[in-house]
Amino acid sequence: MASAPPPSAAKLYRPNQYVSLPAELDPDTYDTSPEKLRAEAERLAIRSRLKRQYQLQLNNPNRPAVIENPALIRWVFAKSQNVYPTFRPTPKTSFLGAVYGLAPLIFWFFVLKSDRDRKEKHIQEGKVKRPFSVFF
């Protein structure tokens, strides 16, 4: 009665969301299909076109003072100015907004208020002397 084959190294490693799989365990490295080669060739074409544009601007005798990077500008725009137009109130976003925005406020309000009420009650009952403080 043969037992199951030993688990692969990738399964033993148990890929998780925090770190990536080492290249040796990733099945993607051993994939040499023509689709992959074509994809790599297309990516290389895009990369070399961008590199050429950049190098032309860099080695220009009348180089502009700052070579602006459209990817950087798009990234900054997306993070700062594109969030409000593309935001939509959905059940998930309203729930997250309540959890991150309202819940801490309400929680700390109740914690601090009850703590101060308890201290005030102790002082009125005479158990604790009221601390002398000028500023608050």
Partner: protein
């Protein structure tokens, strides 16, 4: 800046033509371009790139920006400023993550349990109350020098 409106990120692409136009805008292949799911969270049509830090990129390639390991015009990850080399690093670990976390939590919980037990059941050599000379320091504690102090004997013969 001088970039036109259609070069800037926009709303989530719905039709395949919009997707192709967005992929071209971001300098990506149409098959590679994958926008964030349309949850209304504010991502728009920004591409969802794999969550890999800049540490994982080839150190020997001639990047346009070697410290960032980033090329001019290459689409930047949404969390690019988190994945720079000074910050979060997602390089593969030598030891699997579950082994590391198991070892860490076993060690931490063992130490914490031992400390808590030590607080609840302290153990030290037997001690007795401290014995002071001169009749329990009668004069130093403000006793009257004219009166005879009460005799305090700490020994037995």
């Amino acid at each position: 800046s001088e970039m036109s409106k259609d070069m800037m990120p926009g709303p989530y692409p719905r039709t395949p033509e919009e997707r192709a136009a967005a992929a071209k805008k971001y300098n990506m292949r149409v098959e590679d371009y994958q926008p964030y799911p349309d949850d209304g969270l504010g991502y728009g049509d920004y591409p969802m790139l794999p969550n890999k830090s800049q540490y994982e990129r080839d150190p020997w390639y001639q990047w346009d920006q070697p410290d960032m390991r980033h090329n001019w015009g290459e689409p930047m990850h949404w969390d690019f400023d988190m994945y720079i080399r000074n910050r979060v690093d997602t390089s593969p670990t030598v030891v699997p993550w579950h082994t590391m976390s198991k070892h860490f939590f076993i060690f931490l919980s063992t130490m914490l349990i031992m400390f808590v037990l030590g607080e609840i059941y302290p153990s030290y050599r037997p001690v007795g109350p401290k014995q002071y000379p001169f009749n329990d320091l009668y004069l130093e504690r403000g006793g009257d020098p004219n009166k005879k102090p009460p005799t305090v004997i700490h020994y037995e013969i």
